[in-house]
């Protein structure tokens, strides 16, 4: 038992690079510091100045902006005295109606579902870890939330909307709507959340699958001394 405890203590500082598997010791990082893999330069650890509160604030902001982005019209069109406007889901819906159901689902997933799931799960994770030790499901949510990241494509979507606007501008008068500015907000907020957030801060606070309770971050030294005894 004592053996496994000291193993745990060392495993907290020794890591294997997820991209090249090189074993290395993580140095004690100053706030705002970054550690890169000695071999492949993959970023191994980032110590944010405020790794849990700042992402929480940003995620709350992103949740509000996401709601605006999905309810307000993205852009409007007027031609020969007729008006039309569309929202993000309106775009996906129109694809569905026109017989491109699978494309509609892919568009809806990348523009609405993936960002919404990420924000929801991040909110749940960030709120839950405020009272460590957090239950096991927090880790599960974090995993699912992170897996949504490659699929949430606000920045690609806004460029797509711009190109569509310019294409249609040849045929009719188009104007950007509030929804478009909201999407622009998401383009800034998503990277801001990712940069300020540190997954390891969450893992430190989650109850282990094998029943172990992680030492509280404030009392880490005490835990270390105990392991040494």
């Amino acid at each position: 038992m004592r053996n496994s405890k000291s193993e745990q203590a060392t495993s907290l500082e020794t890591v294997a690079c997820p991209e090249c598997d090189l074993l290395q010791q993580l140095p004690e990082l100053p706030p705002g510091g970054k550690a890169r893999c000695a071999r492949c330069q993959h970023t191994l650890a980032i110590r944010g100045t405020d790794p849990l509160d700042r992402p929480l604030a940003l995620t709350l902001a992103a949740a509000i902006v996401l709601i605006v982005a999905n309810t307000a019209p993205l852009m409007g069109l007027s031609a020969v005295g007729r008006q039309a406007s569309t929202t993000i889901l309106g775009g996906a819906y129109q694809m569905w109606v026109q017989g491109q159901e699978i494309t509609a689902l892919i568009v809806a997933f990348c523009s609405v579902i993936a960002p919404a799931v990420y924000i929801l799960f991040m909110l749940a994770v960030l709120l839950a870890v405020r009272r460590p030790p957090a239950p096991q499901w927090v880790g599960e949510l974090l995993r699912w939330g992170n897996s949504m990241l490659p699929w949430s494509m606000s920045e690609v979507m806004i460029l797509g909307i711009l190109v569509a606007l310019i294409k249609i501008a040849e045929l009719a008068t188009v104007e950007p709507g509030i929804g478009m500015y909201a999407v622009g907000g998401l383009v800034v907020l998503f990277p801001a959340i990712m940069v300020s957030f540190d997954s390891q801060e969450v893992w430190k606070r989650v109850k282990w699958a094998d029943g172990r309770v992680p030492p509280l971050p404030g009392a880490r030294e005490e835990g270390g001394a105990e392991a040494g005894r």
Binding site: R143, A164, W203
Partner: protein
């Protein structure tokens, strides 16, 4: 680097893909589960090479109809006009916005093709145990991962064009079958990039170094 680098696998340790915790596996054949997050442990992603190959081949097949079939059909005043992806690029170029034409050309034609070639190159390198330049290969892999999402650009352009231009009976735009194949190429190559295990690149290099030593 003269000595063979000490990887976790070489040291008999396995790092969790979910939470990055380094732990001692239950046994070499069956590493078991991560003590912290409970995820299944694996030395390397299961069937990484086969899965990635399958997805790359599927994406390459879809790439052909994606470029040949029309993505948009414009109906205006009784006449109808079909555009492929290249047609859309040409339209943007002739209508005077060549920077946008260039962006769409890169994002929808060159990036998907480049991704397929890059993934095939990485896979062949790993399978033949060619170490080559692992740094270069890792950089290539990261580029494939980073740039992949931008290919979705044309799908968004088509979606919002279709959604907005519905002024029946004067003018309307319909999506063509090409959009589906194109979206399929993007999704398949993205999953392919995720299923490829970049650690295999370094393993291949190490096994070659080991043979020389």
């Amino acid at each position: 680097m003269t000595a063979i680098a000490l990887t976790a696998a070489r040291a008999g340790l396995v790092s969790c893909e979910t939470c990055d915790l380094l732990s001692r596996p239950a046994s070499a054949a069956e590493p078991g589960y991560c003590p912290r997050c409970g995820a299944e442990l694996a030395w390397r992603r299961h069937g990484s090479i086969q899965t990635t190959w399958a997805l790359v081949v599927a994406a390459a097949i879809c790439y052909i109809p994606a470029n040949v079939l029309p993505v948009l059909t414009t109906n205006a005043l009784g006449s109808s006009d079909s555009d492929t992806i290249i047609g859309g690029v040409v339209f943007l170029y002739t209508s005077g916005s060549w920077p946008l034409a260039l962006i769409v050309l890169i994002a929808s034609v060159m990036v998907p093709l480049g991704k397929l070639v890059a993934l095939a190159y990485l896979l062949i390198g790993v399978q033949r145990g060619r170490g080559g330049n692992s740094h270069e290969r890792t950089r290539l892999y990261r580029m494939v991962e980073f740039v992949g999402r931008w290919s979705m650009l044309d799908v968004f352009v088509d979606t919002f064009t279709v959604a907005l231009v519905q002024l029946q009976p004067l003018m309307s735009v319909e999506p063509g079958a090409g959009v589906l194949f194109f979206a399929a190429v993007v999704v398949l190559t993205m999953i392919a990039a995720e299923s490829f295990d970049p650690r295999l690149v370094w393993d291949a290099a190490a096994s070659r170094e080991g043979q020389h030593a």
